[in-house]
C-alpha cells in the first residue's frame, strides 16, 4: 500500500532531496544488488547495474505515478538494466563462463552447486528473473508479477518451467510447498 509519506518522499526526491531519495531507494540497494548478482553472476557488473538503475530511477522520478509501489518499480528498472547488460559486452564473458559440461554423478555439494549455478545461467532470461526474484529475494509471486509486468499465472509458469529445467539438481516437487 503506497502511503502519503511515500508520495511525499517522491515529491521531495523529485525536488532534489537526496535524503528523500535515500529513504525511497536506499533500502532497496542491497536487495537490488542481490537481484543483479543473481542475474549477472558478477559482482562488478551487478554493482554497475544497480548504480545505473539508480540513475535511471532518479531521472524517471518525474514520470512516476502517485501511488506507485517503489520496490517493484525499482526492481523492474534493475531487471531491465541487467537485461541491457546481458545484451552488451558482458554477455560474451558471462556466456563463456556459463558453458561447460555438468559434473555427472559428483557428490560434492560445492561442485553440485556449481552445476546448479551453471544450469541457472542457461535458463531463459524471464525464467531466471522470476526464479531469482522469488527464491533468492523471497518476493511473493504477486510482487514478481508486478516487477516483470506479467500475470501471476505466467510467473508461476516461468518458475515451474525453470525448476523443471533444473530438475537434475533440484527436487521440483518441493518448490511450491
Amino acid at each position: 500500500m503506497a502511503s502519503i509519506a511515500a508520495a511525499e518522499l517522491v515529491a521531495q526526491a523529485k525536488a532534489g532531496d537526496r535524503n528523500a531519495f535515500d529513504a525511497l531507494v536506499g533500502p532497496l540497494i542491497d536487495p537490488a544488488f542481490r537481484l543483479a548478482f543473481g542475474m549477472l553472476h558478477d559482482r562488478e557488473a551487478a554493482e554497475d547495474a544497480v548504480q545505473e538503475a539508480a540513475f535511471r530511477a532518479w531521472r524517471s522520478l518525474g514520470n512516476l505515478r502517485p501511488g506507485t509501489e517503489m520496490r517493484p518499480w525499482f526492481f523492474a528498472i534493475v531487471a531491465n538494466q541487467c537485461r541491457s547488460t546481458l545484451r552488451g559486452r558482458w554477455r560474451r564473458v558471462l556466456k563463456l563462463d556459463g558453458v561447460g559440461t555438468p559434473s555427472q554423478g559428483v557428490e560434492d555439494p560445492v561442485v553440485r552447486g556449481a552445476d546448479l549455478r551453471r544450469a541457472i545461467r542457461q535458463l531463459k532470461r524471464d525464467q531466471r528473473l522470476a526464479l531469482v526474484l522469488h527464491f533468492y529475494l523471497d518476493l511473493s509471486l504477486e510482487e514478481v508479477a508486478a516487477i516483470t509486468r506479467a500475470p501471476v499465472g505466467t510467473v508461476k509458469s516461468r518458475i515451474h518451467r525453470a525448476v523443471a529445467r533444473l530438475r537434475p539438481q533440484l527436487e521440483a516437487e518441493e518448490v511450491f510447498g
Binding site: 511525499e8 537526496r18 536506499g26 548478482f37 548504480q51
Partner: protein, 459 residues
Amino acid sequence: MKQDHEDLPREDPRTKIRRALGAGEPDPGLRARVIGSMPIDPGGGSRWQWAAGGVAVLLAVTIVAGLVFVRQRSAAHSAATGQLVGSLTMTAQLDFRCTLPVQGYLSQGRISLPDGGVTVDQTQSPGKGTPTFGSVYVGGKWLPVPRTWLSPDGRSYAYITSTSGVPGQPQTATVYVHDIAKGTDRKLWSGSGSAQTIIGWGPGGVYFPLQPTASGQGFIGQEVWVVDPANASAAHRVGPNPPQTAAPGLPTVPLFLFGTRIAGGAAWTVKQVISQGPIPPGGGIISRDPAQVLRMDLKDGSLSTWFTAPDGTNVGIAGTDQQGHPILIITTTPNVVKPTQASSGAPVTMPPELVYPPPPRVLLLTSANQTVEISSGSDATFRPSSAFGDGHGIWLTSPGSLWLYRHGSLTKVADVPASLFPLPTPPPNLPTPPANFPKPSPPPGYPIGVSLNVLGPCA
C-alpha cells in the same frame, strides 16, 4: 565421503538455489555510494532527466575518484586550461571583477565577470570511465571531490574509507586528509565503525557521520564525530545523529548526512515532511508535520529548530551566505491529494500545479525564526536551483539565468545561452513517458534553459 553427505539435512530448492547463486552480499558502502552519486537537480528532474542522469554519472565517478584520488592526483590536479566558448548575455553591470566556477550539464568551466566570458575546461562524456575533472575549483585546478570535503583554506581535502573487515570483526572507518600542493595523504583517525562520507569541515575539524557498532543494517551514521587535523588523537563524538521521521515500512536515515551544510559553527539540515497513512480514497486534505530546518551546535551537539515551513510548503537548504546563514527555498507542496491513479489505460491528468509549481520563495535564515526575504516567489522567471554565498553576495541560478543577491537586492546578472553548455547526446534506450501520461503546458514565463550549478566563490 558419500556417507557424510547422506548425514546432511535435506535441503529445499530455495536453499540450494541460494547456495548456488553464491556470495551475493553487497559491499557495505554500496548504498552510500549509489545514493551519494545522485545529482541535486531541484525541479529539473522531469525536464532534463537524461541530462541529470549524465550529471549523476559525473558525480558518481567524482566521489569514487575521491577515494582513489591518491593514485590519480598527478593527472587530476593539473591546472585548468579551458577554451573560451562564448559569453553570457549580461543584463546588469557589475562593479567588480572575478571568476565564477560553474557546472552546466556535463561541462565545467568558469565565468569571467563582469564581461561574462565563459571558459569551459572540460566536458565529461556520459558513461563509465575514469573522471578527468571534479566538482571543486581551487587554485586554478579542478579537484574530483565534493566541495564539502575541501578545507576552509582550500589547501587540503578530507575523505573517508570504511572497510568491511573480516567476518566476526567490526568494520573500520578511516579519515584521511590530502594535501593538495604536496600531493600527500595523511591518515587522521581510524576507529571501529562504519562511515561512508564526510559531512564537512567546521570549527573543530572534519565532521563525519559514524555508525560505531557497524551492524551493516539501518541507517549509516547514528552519531556525528569530529577529528581535528592538528590533534587527531582528540577525535570525539559530537552528538547523536538522530533519524529522520519515517513512515511505516520505510527505513530511517540520519538527519545529518547528504545535503548537510556546515556554516557558522553549526551543521544545518532539514527534517523532512512526513505524513502517515494511506492515500485517502478519492483524494482529500491530509495533515502532516511541517518540515523544519534543524541546527546542530558543533560544540556540544545540541539540536534546535530554527525554521518551520508554513502549512502547505516544504523547505530546502540551497546553500549558505558568507556569514554562515542558510539560504532557504520554500516550495509549495499541496496538501490536497487528488486521485491520479490510471485505470485500465485511461489518460492520467496531472494537475498543472504539481508539474509546474509556483515559483519558490527564497529566504535567508539569519537567526532562529528570523528570516530576510531574498525573493517573494512572485517572479515567474526565477526558480533557483543553486545558491552560493561569497564576498560579493549570494549567487543564485535559475534555468537560463544567473542572479546575484547583494546589498539587500536581487538582480538578474545575465542570461545563459544554452549553446554554451550543450546538452550531451541522449543515451540509447532512453525511457519515454507513457502515452497516457500527458503533461500540461508550462505557465507563462516559466524559465527554460541550462541550470548552472555554482561550485565556488567568485574569486
